[in-house]
Amino acid sequence: MAAQHLKTASGASRSLARSRPRYGEAAVKVVLLLAALVSIATTVGIVAALLEPTIEFFGEVSLGEFFGSTTWGPLFNPPAFGVWPIIVATVEITLIAIVVAVPLGLAAAIYLSEYATPRVRKIFKPVLEVLAGVPTVVFGFFALTFVTPVLQDVLPFLDLEAKNALSAGLLVGVMIIPIVASLSEDSMAAVPNGLREGSYALGASKMLTSVRVVVPAAFSGIVAAIILAVSRAAGETMIVAIAGGFKSVFTIYPGNEMATMAAFIAQAGSGDASVGSTAYKTIFAVGSLLFIMTFAMNYVSARMVQKYREVYD
């Protein structure tokens, strides 16, 4: 909308301004481009940091053992390198988080976008921002010392361990609520009012309009928000390290302690593995796997927004 006007306008004026060469102007552009290229260098740096130790790792541990067995314990003696337990734990905690965050975040987004008056929005949006700014160590502490004991008291039949996937997942879910809420709200706010008015004109109620018109019209943005939230949940480290624990047992029961991929990296990276050992290289192999998984999700999310975005002008 406004951005497009701006683009065409500045494009037209740029050709006017460029009637004779201005070397200072060109130098400024180069400096700015260099600043933008720092981000490319970051990605190259991440890939470079991951690649070499990962290749060395797979020289020592076969792909078959890595993906073909279900015992994980690179820091044990004898070590075991079956990666499935930490993948399962990552997926499970992410699922719990999504079950918490998607309904709550989406409902909050619909409320803020469709129901709240500007004054109410002005109060609630900063609160969500504060929630988004709470450090994850704080959520981890809360999960370990408050949520888990409360759950153990209220739901004793769950047989929760002191560290467990359930509490960790719940708190990861709370952590990603603001992501789901604010990105979904942005895409709902971008739905033009004409669609809402058309729906009202046909006799639809406010609820029907929200659920059947606004949400479908903003769908690509909502899906992108959820994918982004999933990728944040999968990579979350401190909450799962504190409240989910470091034990890797091949289990799916959420009452058990289980280490995710990120938790393993944190544990091994904070000094439990000696530099150059196979265990040390495992950090980078798991890091590569995590990076590829989240990168794929982010890419899909970005493409969804680009490709399926309804453009209303």
Binding site: A2, A3, L6, S10, S13, V28, K29, L32, L33, A35, A36, S39, I40, T42, G45, I46, A48, A49, L50, A108, I110, L112, K122, F124, P126, V127, E129, L131, V134, P135, T136, V137, V138, F139, F142, L144, P192, R196, Y200, K206, M207, S231, R232, A234, G235, T237, M238, A241, I242, A262, I265, A266, G269, S270, G271, T294, M297, N298, A302, Y312
Partner: protein, 296 residues
């Protein structure tokens, strides 16, 4: 921009049919939002209550200690965090703002490399922070041989918050209407003069808000530092950029991992300090936005 408010009369006409269901839906939506807010309130009340006995001067006067948790403090962590944030502000903010100016004012979107830069930034914004820790460990600490120092930590965190700074600065720059630029160009200003004298001053409040929020993210970050050898209870304050260090969130983590009850209290007290700093920064950001944000 489309007008966002719905006509009152239309709503009243529409909601006459099924009032109960409509009300329940509205209440359910509000309840979802309330859950998040009540949760935040509970969290804050809980840590203040837990940490209350240790919220005194010894907390910031003393250094952390494994043997005497009842008098241990967090001074080295506070100083470490200040160093890291100061350097991050010096590195990430100029780079991010310059990159945002490039992408908004100069980049030709039909060129593949500009689209690559954009896609890359949105991808980087969602890379897990622990992976940035691996980047810091592999490239900065070991390959560039910066070791486990403040410098390594600050560069790593700068790269981590850079996408956030770029994205928010771009939004602020984009909000400046084209007519301002056209007016300036029509008066004979060059493109850079237009940006420097018109666009940037107009977008400073938005850029400042985004920058503060990005830095507050950097303050709370713990995971990358786990990889950068900052995990131990450092008992001295950093003396320069090549000094070893700890940061507040990581000290909190190391307190949490210890079994004694005193450490849990100490962790809660340190969390209160951390949250207070973050709340202050958030309030400044929100105040800036409400006070200076222009509606064009």
């Amino acid at each position: 921009m489309a007008i966002l408010s719905t006509p009152r009369s239309a709503v009243q006409l529409a909601s006459r049919g099924r009032p109960l269901k409509e009300h329940l839906f509205r209440i359910a939506l509000l309840a979802s939002l309330a859950i998040a807010i009540v949760f935040l309130a509970m969290l804050i009340i809980y840590v203040v209550e837990e940490g209350w006995p240790r919220l005194d001067a010894t907390l910031w006067e003393n250094q952390p200690s494994i043997r005497r948790p009842e008098t241990a403090g967090i001074q080295s962590g506070i100083f470490g965090t200040l160093w890291i944030i100061g350097l991050t502000a010096l590195m990430a903010l100029p780079t991010g703002i310059l990159a945002a100016i490039y992408l908004e004012e100069y980049a030709d979107k039909s060129k593949w490399y500009n689209r690559l830069i954009e896609l890359n930034i949105s991808n980087l914004a969602a890379v897990p922070s622990i992976v940035y820790g691996i980047l810091g460990l592999g490239m900065i600490a070991r390959w560039m041989q910066f070791g486990f120092t403040i410098m390594t930590g600050a560069i790593t965190i700068s790269l981590l918050v850079l996408p956030i700074v770029i994205i928010s600065a771009r939004e602020a720059i984009r909000a400046v209407p084209a007519s301002i630029r056209e007016g300036s160009l029509a008066l004979g200003a060059t493109q850079w003069q237009t940006i420097y004298r018109q666009v940037l001053p107009a977008s400073i409040p938005g850029i400042a808000t985004g920058s503060i929020l990005a830095l507050s993210r950097a303050i709370g970050e713990a995971a990358p530092f786990l990889m950068l050898g900052a995990a131990t209870l450092v008992r001295f304050n950093p003396e320069g950029v090549w000094s070893s260090f700890s940061v507040l969130p990581l000290q909190i983590y190391s307190f949490i991992t210890r079994p004694q009850e005193e450490f849990a209290i100490l962790a809660a007290a340190a969390i209160v300090v951390l949250l207070a700093i973050l709340l202050l920064m958030n309030s400044v950001a929100i105040w800036l936005r409400n006070r200076y944000q222009k509606r064009w």
